[in-house]
């Protein structure tokens, strides 16, 4: 039902733009365009889908395991095992070369497909699909709501898992086992542990968790392909006064961002609201790209989608957009600290979907 609703919405958008055919790309890191079109999230290899002028959808994958999975998991589309995927998709596009064809994301297309020497012309359809990805239908928000609940529950497991003597990757094992048990197929997470020596979260390592460590993570489980995220910081033991002061600042910044997020406001305004708190406390430098990447980002069929919450992003927020607001950055007194909640933009403001208390946890 949701898959069909997405396809109907896509067809309407294509018709309005005069686009007759569309080719999309996905892989295990970013599969949102592919999932929107073909209801399939890629796990191994390349996945590409072509929406033909007659509205039919053909999915091409270059992994034999993925071809079998796509046949089992999808309906209403044609699935092809395409070991030479770029050439096979290009060949398919040649057959509709006399139509207006868009590609999304255009920059992700394999070189062979994007090559100007092909017999078709590709227009950039990224913006067209991005708008559909950003502004969600109620059923999509419901999925995110479920994912946010799962993120909350997952963080409780993470708190239990983080104990002195354990290695970072062992914590991930506990979280992933929990998510699989709950029927959650996918999750993205990075983490950090230590003190002032930690400048960012990273993939899990064999680093041993020690008493007194500050442990950070962002958990991003998916339900029906929709990712919600939570960022929290804990201390193994008692939080120091400096850690508590720092956390209060991050909380103030996050809440300033959430309070600003509403329809008609730009992503830049939300970022400014967060960063102004850091600037007010004389820590403006730590809100720059030297120490942090973004002050939040869109969530949906991809964990790090548009709009990015940055002071130079002028995307105007609309009801139905979902995102995380997280002023995650390095703090000179205590190290890298994180705090973030998933929100949905409503007609009047922002509804917070994650429910975990905004504390610095002491475990």
């Amino acid at each position: 039902m949701l898959a069909q609703d997405r396809r109907n919405r896509l067809r309407a958008a294509m018709n309005e733009a005069g686009i007759e055919a569309l080719v999309v790309y996905g892989n295990s890191w970013q599969s949102d365009y592919l999932r929107y079109v073909a209801d399939f999230s890629s796990l191994e290899g390349h996945g590409m889908a072509v929406v033909a002028p007659d509205g039919s959808v053909e999915l091409f994958v270059d992994s034999v395991a993925e071809a079998e999975r796509a046949e089992a998991e999808t309906s209403g589309i044609t699935v092809s095992l395409a070991p030479e995927i770029a050439r096979e998709v290009a060949s398919r596009l040649e057959r509709v070369a006399n139509h207006r064809i868009a590609a999304a994301p255009l920059g992700f297309m394999p070189k062979f497909i994007a090559d100007a020497a092909r017999g078709y012309q590709l227009e950039d359809g990224t913006t067209l699909v991005d708008r559909l990805l950003m502004v969600k239908m109620p059923a999509e928000i419901d999925a995110l709501r479920q994912a946010a609940k799962l993120a909350d529950d997952g963080y409780e497991v993470f708190k239990e898992a983080a104990r002195p003597g354990r290695r970072q990757y062992e914590l991930i094992a506990d979280i992933e086992g929990f998510f699989r048990k709950k029927g959650c197929a996918d999750n993205f997470m990075i983490m950090g542990s230590g003190g002032k020596d930690v400048f960012a979260m990273a993939p899990p390592s064999a680093r041993v968790i020690k008493a007194g460590d500050m442990v950070t993570t962002e958990l991003t489980p998916a339900v029906h392909g929709y990712f919600a995220q939570i960022c929290r910081t804990m201390v193994l033991g008692k939080a120091s006064d400096a850690q508590k002061r720092a956390h209060a600042l991050y909380r103030e910044a996050m809440e300033a961002g959430i309070a600003t997020a509403k329809p008609g406001v730009t992503a830049a305004a939300v970022a400014r609201a967060e960063n102004d708190v850091f600037r007010k406390h004389g820590l403006g430098e730590y809100a720059t790209s030297k120490y942090t990447r973004v002050r939040g980002h869109g969530l949906g069929l991809f964990v790090d989608t548009k709009p990015h919450i940055l002071e130079d992003v002028d995307t105007v927020l609309e009801a139905g957009m979902t995102m995380i607001i997280h002023p995650n950055t390095y703090h000179p007194e205590v190290g890298y600290m994180v705090l973030g909640d998933t929100i949905v933009i409503t007609a009047t403001g922002a509804e917070v979907l994650t429910g975990m208390p905004r504390e610095i946890f002491e475990v």
Binding site: N27, W29, S42, L43, E44, G45, D62, S63, V64, A65, A67, E68, R69, A72, E73, L81, P83, E84, I85, R87, L106, G107, F108, M109, P110, K111, F112, I113, Q168, Y169, E170, I172, A173, D174, I175, E176, G177, F178, R180, K181, K182, G183, A185, D186, N187, F188, I190, F199, A200, A202, P203, P204, S205, A206, T220, H224, K290, R293, V303, D304
Partner: protein
């Protein structure tokens, strides 16, 4: 998504292993007149760069430049905050972070004076990266070096065979934890996933055929799924850049299972001939030849199988019908060479 344990294990992959691989690659490059070879990597297409540097991307993309003479450069789309992590989990002379790896790699090609540049898997190189590369190194003629790379890559060294055996052992031990009596598929999947990660897997992708009597196809379980009387679990396990698949069928009697295992072993022994597998209702042979960790070599849906090199590492999968009952199996295989027959590297036994 990835969330596994990424590390360069110097005990299992000493620098000498990478030096030898680079030497083999350069030896193959020289007759083609290549000044440098460029290899792409991202979250999905990890295998070529990890084979040469140990580096496995978690989310970002990048390019490795291997000059015929001089230091290799790995340039990743990383901020400076993450470069330290990258350096710590890779074995490469130069590691850089930057917004656009294509531009950085092109700049290095100019610095090297490289004019004849091979690109592994040029067709599939992301167009925007290819464009940056060409723009930054306008004097470099880029040509496809897929066959060259493939010819070097398909010959595993002892280190890679050991890693495949380790990955298989992790999968075997983890799959042994499923009981077959689970009333929710998620319980079985969770036990295997958790165990593999605790055993040090870099990644595990779980798939299941929830009811073999109805459908032998594997999917990624989501939500609450009640398994059938007989179901199969497949663990795709990565360990330090080497990927394998193992499959366990649960809920079948011991006798047909042993019969299926014997048929599987017999088909494996005939590899690289596919004749033994063609009798099965479903099967595939996968291995690593370029950037995808498990590329399809042969399957019923392929009109032209790719050649399977003697001495190569592959994963064989099959669904075998015994007395009308389907049994799914998969295991890593070392393909025979010279007088040695093909055989499974880790037996699909889970007791």
């Amino acid at each position: 998504m990835r969330r596994g344990f990424i590390a360069w294990s110097k005990a299992e992959l000493p620098e000498s292993v990478f030096a030898a691989r680079l030497a083999r690659l350069r030896e193959a490059m020289a007759p083609h007149g290549l000044d440098a070879l460029v290899v792409y990597t991202n979250n999905t297409r990890t295998a070529a760069v990890s084979w040469l540097t140990a580096f496995v991307p978690y989310w970002a993309e990048g390019l490795l430049v291997v000059p015929l003479v001089g230091d290799p450069l790995l340039t990743m789309a990383f901020s400076n905050r993450i470069v330290g992590w990258g350096k710590g989990v890779s074995c490469v002379a130069r590691f850089e972070g930057g917004a656009r790896p294509g531009q950085a790699a092109g700049k290095y090609l100019v610095e090297l004076g490289a004019r004849h540049v091979g690109v592994a898997d040029l067709d599939n190189l992301r167009a925007a990266v290819a464009s940056d590369l060409a723009e930054a190194a306008p004097a470099a003629a880029l040509k496809d070096a897929t066959a060259l790379f493939d010819s070097v890559r398909q010959q595993p060294d002892p280190a890679e065979i050991a890693l495949a055996a380790k990955a298989g052992a992790i999968a075997q031990r983890a799959l042994a934890l499923a009981t077959g009596s689970e009333t929710r598929l998620g319980d079985a999947v969770a036990a295997v996933d958790n165990a593999a990660r605790l055993l040090g897997a870099e990644e595990i992708y779980m798939a299941a055929a929830p009811d073999l009597d109805r459908d032998h196809r594997f999917l990624r379980p989501e939500g609450v799924v009640t398994p059938g009387k007989s179901f199969a679990l497949r663990a795709t396990v990565a360990y330090k850049g080497t990927w394998i698949r193992m499959t366990r069928t649960l809920g079948r009697a011991p006798e047909p299972t042993a019969d299926a295992a014997a048929q599987f072993a017999a088909a494996v022994a005939r590899l690289p001939s596919l004749d033994g597998f063609r009798e099965f209702p479903a099967w595939s042979i996968e291995g690593c030849r370029l950037a995808q960790p498990l590329d399809v070599f042969a399957a019923p849906a392929m009109s032209a199988p790719r050649p399977i090199a003697p001495g190569s590492l592959v994963t064989a999968q099959a669904v075998i019908a015994v007395d009308g009952k389907r049994i799914a199996l998969a295991a890593p295989v070392l393909v025979g060479a010279q007088e040695f027959p093909s055989s499974v590297l880790v037996a699909p036994i889970f007791a």
